[in-house]
Amino acid sequence: MIDLVLVVAGLVLISIGVFYDFVGAIGLLRLPNFYTRLHAATAGAIGGAVVPMIGTALVALGADYLGPPRFFLAGAAFASSILLMVLAQAGSHAIARAAYISGEAPREPILHDALKDRGGE
């Protein structure tokens, strides 16, 4: 019984992750400039990568037909999901800061640039 619960929960998480991944991809295409695309990319990276990995770990724990190596899969999936949760944000922040400071990305559709008043280069 518990296996079925684990597998169903994992599959729900994986389908949520696929939905986030798809929405992030569409968002990355349709949003006007780099700074708005950051939102789509990070949503696609976290919802589309971390959540399915946790879901896969649950499915791996619940699916007995995979045999004993499924515990390596579950452990590695949990570890990489936690690692990804930290890394995806740090990488996106670093690239956003670099794009702002170097002025590489245009800031056209913008209402208010808070960094400019605070002396941002």
Partner: protein, 94 residues
Amino acid sequence: MVIEALVTSVLTVLIPIYVVSFLLYVVRVVKGPTIPDRVLAIDSLGYDLAAFMVVLSILLKSPLMVVSGLALALWVYAFDIYIAKYLEAKEMGE
């Protein structure tokens, strides 16, 4: 036996949607007007490819691809940091 049929049927439905979103990311990589746009698209493409490897390793019943998924996630993070460092200070930290 029920669980195996459930898992394989659901995953065979989800995998094509993953592949479609990868193609959309590749469109942004090709179309991206500026360098940070391309980096952002490669960034989320790499992370979702790592997640795709992990999800696929259930369908293939072997935990080998999870390690490469983790390595890909680390590489994409390093890629971000290198390009951010280059854009900001024009040096790669040698």
